[in-house]
């Protein structure tokens, strides 16, 4: 496993809820990341964010980690949940509340 993959695995395992995104929760740098943050905030979730724009290795590595080509990516309890479209769908049908509620 490359260094980036190890670092990503550590981030995913050491945080119950972690969002890999472009920018920060306060200043998202992309509409999709902004939407992901808005959903988590709306649910009152406590979460960590990782700004992939600050680290080219993580930015590239996260695409390989879950075989997912885009950012944002949400991980809960070490499991890949999806990108912002899946988050929105799960938010609308109540699944995300359930998933995050169990962690609160």
């Amino acid at each position: 496993m490359s260094d980036a993959q190890t670092r990503i695995a550590d981030l995913v395992k050491s945080n119950d809820i972690v969002l890999f995104m472009k920018g920060t929760a306060l200043f998202p740098q992309c509409g999709f990341s902004s939407r992901a943050v808005a959903i988590l905030d709306r649910l009152g979730a406590t979460y960590e964010t990782v700004d992939v724009l600050q680290d080219p290795d993580i930015r590239q590595g996260i695409k390989e980690y879950s075989d997912w080509p885009t950012v944002p990516q949400l991980y809960v309890k070490g499991e890949f949940v999806g990108g912002s479209d899946i988050m929105m769908e799960m938010f609308e049908n109540g699944e995300l509340q359930q998933l995050l509620g169990a962690e609160a």
């Binding site: 999709f32 075989d67 997912w68 080509p69 885009t70 950012v71 999806g82 479209d85 899946i86």
Partner: protein, 82 residues
């Protein structure tokens, strides 16, 4: 380089043959699309796997030449309204 909606539809259908594909150009710039893909082949697959099948159909373009593809996937529902 921007991609035409018809090209996105062609690529998805080429690899998911029985797929029903609806593409909307969100910004009119050939770079921000929304796609809804409905296919029987998605049955039994998690949402993540369904999206990955569409990304695979687009052969690495998503996140690259195709910056933004808002994606929705579904399994066809039996007609119950007629």
């Amino acid at each position: 380089m921007p991609m035409a909606a018809i090209e996105i539809e062609r690529l998805i259908k080429a690899s998911i043959p029985e797929a029903e594909v609806i593409i909307r150009d969100l910004a009119g710039d050939g770079d921000h699309y929304a796609a809804r893909v409905v296919s029987k082949s998605f049955e039994g697959l998690s949402r993540i796997k369904q999206h990955q099948a569409v990304y695979a159909a687009l052969g690495g373009r998503v996140g690259g030449e195709l910056h933004a593809l808002q994606l929705e996937t579904a399994v066809p529902q039996p007609e119950n309204d007629q």
